[in-house]
Subunit: 321 residues, 2 copies
C-alpha cells in the first residue's frame, strides 16, 4: 500500500479500508507492512467483544446497539466473526441482513470474517482487523462471534469490554454452554426479555454472579460487578441502558488502570504467537528439502515417537540464526 | 510411571488409565514419557469424532452408540471434550449422567476433558488422551465435543471418521452454525427423528450433500458420499444402522488408503505444533530476564511495532541451539 492508501485508511475511507482488510484476511506481506505503519495509531478505540450461545439474538443486538451509539455521535466498526465455518464462510449471511439498516451510514463500517485455515488463523486476522479499524479512527470496534466455542471465547476476550448475551428459554445444552462464557463477562445482557422465562433467566444470572465472578477477570478489573441489562433488541428496548453500561465499564477500566493491564496481556500474547511462527519458519528454512516429510514417515511407521522426532529435527537444523 | 504402570495401561487397567490421563491433562513430564513409550502401540483403534450444534442430543447418541458397539463385542472409550468451559469445566456434568448406564461395563471407559488454559491446550491434551486409549487397546475411541465452534471442529477432524449430528427444529442461528461443520462429515445423523420437521431436515441435508461435499475432505476420501442416518437415540432407534455406517466408512478408508493420508496429516500437524513450542522455549531460555517484558513495554508505548519487536527479540537471543 502507498502512503496515500494508508492515509486514506486512517481517514476511514471505506474502499481503502475494505482493500486493506482483504489483505489482512489473506495475511499478505502488504498487510504486514500496513499493520506496522498503522500500529502507532492504535490503542484509542473502545474494543467491545460480544459473545453468547446460539439463539440469543446477538446480531440484532449488535445492530441496535450500533444505532444507539450512532445517535450519541460515536463512530462504530463491527467485525462479525464466524469460526464455525472453516470452509465456506457463508453461514452468517442471513444474520448480516439485519444490519442492512446501518448500511448507508458513513459512521458505521461492517466486515464479516470467516476462517480460512487452521485454528488460530482467525484469531490472528480478527485481531489485525481490529487494529486496522482502531487506527482508522472508529470510536468503538465491536467484535461479534457467531459460534460459542473456545476460539470464540478467546476472540471475545481480546476486547476491553466483553458483553455476554443470554436469552430465556434456550435448551439445557445451550444453557450448559453459557456457563463457560459467563465467567468472562464484563456486562451481561438478557436479550428477548419479553419472552416467558425472562425473569427466571435474570434471577439465575444474578445468582451466578453472587456465587463468584471469574477470578481470571477479577484480577484486572477489581471492584467491577458485571451489570445485567434486559433488552428486546428487535424492538430497540434496553439498548440505551446497555450503551450506558458499556461506557461505565470503559470508565472503570481507565480509572483502575485495568485497560493497560488488558492491553499488555493482549500485546504479550500476540508477540508470543508471532515469535513461534517466525521461529518455525527459520527452522523449516534450515532443514533439507523433504526432511520434515521423512520424519513424518518414521512417525507413521512408529520407528520414532513425536518427542524423538522433535529432537531429531532440531538437531538436524543446527543452531537457528 | 513405572514399566508396570505402562503395562497396566496397555492392558486397559482403569485405575492406571485414569492416573495417566490426569497426568496427560496436566501435561506433566511423566505423561510425556509415557506417551513416548506408548506411541509404538498406537494406530490400531478406530477414532470417531462426534460434533454438532447444541440441542442435537449428541451425548445420548454417543451413549446409545456405545451400547450397540458393546453388543457387537467392541470395546469403547469415550472422551467428552468441553472447550466452552475454559475455567470451571463443570458444564457437561448433566450430560454425563446419561452415560451412567455404561458405568459398570469393563469394556467401556469414559473420560471428560475440560480446557484448562489457552486455546490449543485442549486440542493437545485431547489428542494425547486418544493416543493413550488407543494404546490401551480400545477398539473404538469416540471423541465427543460439547460446543460447536472452530476448536471443536478441529478436534473432531483429527478423528478418522467424523460423525456430525443434526436435529429437526433448531433455530435459524443454530442451523447457520451447522453449515460449517456439515462439510467435515463422513457420516451424518439426524437425531430426534421422531420430532416434527425430521423429514424436512433429512431432505435439506440430502440437498446440501448434492450441492457438494467438502473439497477439504474429498481429497482424502474420494468415492465416499456421507450416508445420512435417522436416529431417535433416547429410544435406541437407528443406532445399529449408524454403527453399520461407521464400519463401512472405516472399511472405505482402509481400502482407499485414506486412513494413511489422514493419519499422516495428523502426525505432521502434531509435529509442527511440538516444534513451535520447543523453539519458543529455547528462545525464552536465551533471552535476558525481563527482556520479553521490556519489549512489551515498548509495544505498549508504541515505540516499536510487533514485527519490529519480533526482529529485536530474535536478534537479542542470538543463534538458537
Amino acid at each position: 500500500m502507498t502512503e496515500g492508501d494508508l492515509a486514506a485508511v486512517r481517514a476511514g475511507d471505506r474502499r481503502a479500508l475494505a482493500r486493506l482488510l482483504t489483505q489482512v484476511e489473506n495475511q499478505t506481506p502488504a498487510a504486514e507492512a500496513a499493520l506496522a505503519a498503522l500500529f502507532p495509531h492504535t490503542g484509542r478505540a473502545h474494543l467491545i467483544g460480544v459473545t453468547g450461545a446460539p439463539g440469543t439474538g446477538k446480531s440484532s443486538l449488535v445492530a441496535e446497539l450500533a444505532k444507539v451509539l450512532r445517535r450519541q455521535g460515536e463512530s462504530v466498526a463491527i467485525v462479525a466473526v464466524d469460526p464455525t465455518s472453516p470452509f465456506t464462510g457463508g453461514a452468517i449471511l442471513g444474520d448480516r441482513i439485519r444490519m442492512r439498516d446501518l448500511a448507508g451510514d458513513p459512521g458505521v463500517f461492517i466486515r464479516s470474517m470467516a476462517s480460512r485455515g487452521a485454528l488460530g488463523g482467525l484469531a490472528r486476522t480478527t485481531a489485525d482487523a481490529v487494529q486496522v479499524l482502531d487506527a482508522a479512527g472508529f470510536n468503538r470496534v465491536i467484535v461479534e462471534t457467531v459460534g460459542a466455542g473456545q476460539s470464540e471465547v478467546e476472540i471475545a476476550r481480546t476486547a476491553q469490554t466483553v458483553l455476554v448475551v443470554e436469552a430465556p428459554g434456550l435448551g439445557d445444552e445451550v444453557q450448559g454452554i453459557k456457563a463457560g462464557i459467563l465467567e468472562i463477562a464484563d456486562v451481561l445482557v438478557v436479550n428477548k426479555a419479553d419472552l416467558p422465562g425472562a425473569e427466571t433467566a435474570l434471577r439465575a444470572l444474578r445468582a451466578s454472579l453472587e456465587i463468584g465472578h471469574s477470578a481470571a477477570r477479577r484480577d484486572t478489573a477489581a471492584g467491577w460487578t458485571p451489570p445485567i441489562v434486559a433488552t428486546v433488541a428487535v424492538h430497540g428496548q434496553g439498548l440505551e441502558e446497555l450503551a450506558g453500561a458499556l461506557d461505565r465499564h470503559r470508565d472503570h477500566l481507565r480509572a483502575s488502570g485495568a485497560d493497560n493491564a488488558r492491553e499488555r496481556a493482549r500485546l504479550a500474547g500476540d508477540l508470543e504467537s508471532r515469535l513461534r511462527g517466525a521461529l518455525y519458519q527459520r527452522l523449516l528454512a534450515q532443514l533439507e528439502p523433504g526432511q520434515f516429510a521423512q520424519t513424518v514417515d518414521k512417525l507413521q511407521l512408529r520407528e520414532l515417537d513425536p518427542a524423538g522426532a522433535v529432537r531429531q529435527l532440531l538437531e538436524a537444523a543446527g543452531p537457528l540464526s
